[in-house]
């Protein structure tokens, strides 16, 4: 059962590792996830196995490059999803971050994409400003 309640204040301004941890918690369908910055550098991964992370990282960048090159001229890709019998890979680019995830067979695509977008937005969003406590007015003497 999904127990996610999108609350902008609670997810805004979190770092990439925290966002990936939260993504893995809220989505039971996602088996692995990875986050990149705008330059394609890996910021965080759900996997503790460096080889698995490297494979997912390479596949993500390769998928985005292949998707961009379809058609007559290269275009900026915002989402790639490949669903196969053995599982699926989703890549979502939102703002300055790209989030990719693998799932098992027959995932609920809409939910997975929504979760990836939420994850990317959480990293992009600026941290909420702390409000200063008002000083009590000094009594005029």
């Amino acid at each position: 059962m999904r127990t996610f309640s999108p609350n902008a204040d609670s997810v805004a301004g979190m770092d990439a590792e925290q966002a990936v941890r939260e993504l893995m918690e809220i989505s039971s369908q996602i088996t692995a996830a990875i986050v990149f910055d705008a330059d394609g550098a890996m910021l965080a991964t759900s996997s503790e196995d460096p080889a698995a992370s490297a494979r997912l990282s390479a596949a993500t960048l390769e998928l985005v490059a292949a998707a961009a090159d379809l058609g007559s001229e290269p275009r900026e890709v915002t989402r790639v999803e490949v669903e196969l019998e053995e599982g699926a890979i989703f890549v979502v680019r939102e703002g300055a971050h790209t989030v990719a995830a693998t799932t098992g067979p027959n995932p609920t695509s809409g939910l997975v994409v929504y979760d990836l977008r939420t994850c990317a937005q959480a990293i992009d969003a600026p941290a909420p400003k702390k409000r200063r406590a008002r000083k009590p007015k000094e009594e005029a003497s």
Binding site: R55, E76, T102
Partner: protein
């Protein structure tokens, strides 16, 4: 009791017939891409573009 058994058998037959004759038998494999300009494409299995993306995805999913 007989009526109940008959109803259960008929329900089972109906479910089997539905799955046998009406369920889609097509491949569930597919790929989709969205672009920043708002356009999107859905790639069907068998197309060269689908096979290219699928081969990249398979290497990761099978390991």
């Amino acid at each position: 009791m007989r009526k109940l058994i008959r109803l259960a058998v008929l329900t089972g037959l109906a479910v089997w017939a539905w799955r046998r004759f009406f369920r889609s038998t097509g491949s569930l494999e597919r790929a989709g891409i969205s672009y920043a300009d708002g356009s999107a494409v859905v790639l069907d299995p068998g197309s060269a573009a689908f096979e290219r993306l699928a081969s990249i995805a398979r290497t990761t999913l099978r390991q």
